[in-house]
Amino acid sequence: MIRWLIMGIVRDRTRFLFPWLVTTVGVMLMITLLGFIEGIFMSMVDMTAKLDTGHLRLVNKPFYEEEHLNPLDRALASEKETKTWLTQNSDPEIQWTSRIRWAALMDVPNERGETRSQTPVTGMGLDLLSESGSEIKRLGLESSLIKGRLPRRSHEMLAGYLLAESLGLEIDGKVTLLGQSFDGGFAADNYQVVGFVKFGVAAMDKKMALIDIEDAQTTFYMEDMVTDWLGFLPSRISIFDYDKIRNDLQAKLTKWRQAPPGDWVEDDFPILLSVLDQRNMGQISQTFLMVRKVLVAIFTFIMSLVLWNAGLLNGIHRYGEIGLRLALGETHGQLLRSLMIESLAIATLGCLAGSLLGGGFVYYLQEVGVNMGDAFVQTGMMFSDVMRGRLSLVGFLYGIVPGLAASVLGTLAAGVAIYQRSTAELFRELEA
């Protein structure tokens, strides 16, 4: 019987092809779409993570609590030891990088070396000079550079383009940072501005300067100290797993705090945060989930309609066959069941193909991205010109389950028509 069914499916092109195609396309679209919106959402999360919070963040609690003041004196010591601990204790896939958030007065000299303009700036010290260039890639600095070049030597700086505008900065011009060292002392250092960047966030474009982390350590006398450890997870890990990863590491951290590195001060209390704990990303992720639900509902509905349609078509196409089978004594129920099994089989095949195609497409989006560059040249925003998808198990589930369900429901709806046929009329129909 089953073999007969399979042969029927395989040999009757029209019986198989169309519903299969619809399911395939539907599932593919669903997976692509979900991957796509997840990609959009994740790019927002990623942007926050990359610029600001990391997917995971190890930070000293006293620093975190007064973050708005950039209290360098609450930075966390023992950079090297912390790095070793992090790499040994966390998943090897997490990339850890250290940063320093600082604030200082930026002073621009005139040709006589006297103050021409000045303003308070907030900045970031991050690895700009190492061979790997991982932070440069992470922040997409190359593409957001709108003038000048990236730093190549120590004491070179990137400035937000609006900041550059308001201070009248010039490429290769000298600026002085005047601030407080980590121990409350006086910190002053000269930098050469080598490039202007556009972050696409007004607050950053106006007030942000980037320097190499080692320079920041020199300028603010923070040898072996940083304010932040940011951990970055590979893009395939779902955002909803972040909390678990954080908790796992947090447990180890609690142990580590009992035998802390010698350079930590008594009230140093490093804590772990995930991106969802900060900047309201947790709430935003709730919205995302809601939007996704609405989308899935709409799509399941429409796909059911289409497959119902296909089922009807199928039923009519096989009008004769069904008539014959009824005439041969199959009951309506048996017939419906066999049709359902058929459609389930087709839907499964369709889902498989759709998953492969959709998954492949999303994978492409995820790894390569679609460059929407043209449309967004004028905004010049970081990250936003390349659209990325995001592959996730949930995306597949949301594609496959409605795909199967819609297919079965569609057949069921169409199959009702079978019941409407009376055996009495069958032969007249067959004669025709």
Binding site: L105, G184, F186, Y221
Partner: protein, 261 residues
Amino acid sequence: MKFSNPRSTSGEVKSFFAIFALVLLGAFGQGAFAQDIDPDELLRRVDDNLWSQTKIIEGRLIVDNGRRERTLQMQTWMEGVERSYSVYLNPPRERGVKMLKARSKLWMYTPRTDRKILIAGHMLRQSMMGSDLSYEDMMEDKMLSRNYKSSVEKFEEFEGVPCVVLLLTANDKTTTYQSRKLWIDPEKKTVLMEEMYAKSGKLLKNVHFKDYRPTGDRLFPKKMIFRDLLKENTKTTYEYDSIEFDAEIPAKYFSQSILKR
């Protein structure tokens, strides 16, 4: 010294002070009658004690932010109320940092940057080197008797010394602290404690003056402890090691050209 010509305050206040003073006199059994104290004159005498046309001072600024203590050693040349020049001697990191103030401007020079940076306007309100003093506080070394009207508020013992408490009210609306209170030892004309108030009358900062030492014909506090009372556990201490009054200071000390390596 003579305490005559009391400023006329309202009859009520005067009589209140008279009674209060009598009580105090009973308690301390000594000197100054309320009527005898001319607060403005007393304030001038205090200023005379603390101020001179020129001063060369070497001392240490100890900043304690509740977690760490840092000591900065510096030498300062002052002329009048408007001009001063300081060089940092220690710690090694700050050595050679120079600050020149003239009127309402402050220039900083750091050897590391080899630049002079003008700090003006609102930047002056930032805390200086993480201390409880803003650059402005440092610069607002105004002569109190010129900028404030004073009145006797009460008599009170402070750290075992009977004191006159003067209430100072600013003459000018632009003065940062619109009122201050001084605990003055009327005998020695020394300030033991000063409180700075917001316009509304809220207490913001205080300064303890300690270890008065005779220096020439004056008494000068060896130690001043500044506290920002809105913050927790922080204090900044200034302690001088050597001081010279009315010394000849060459003009070059107050010229921008000194801000060089």
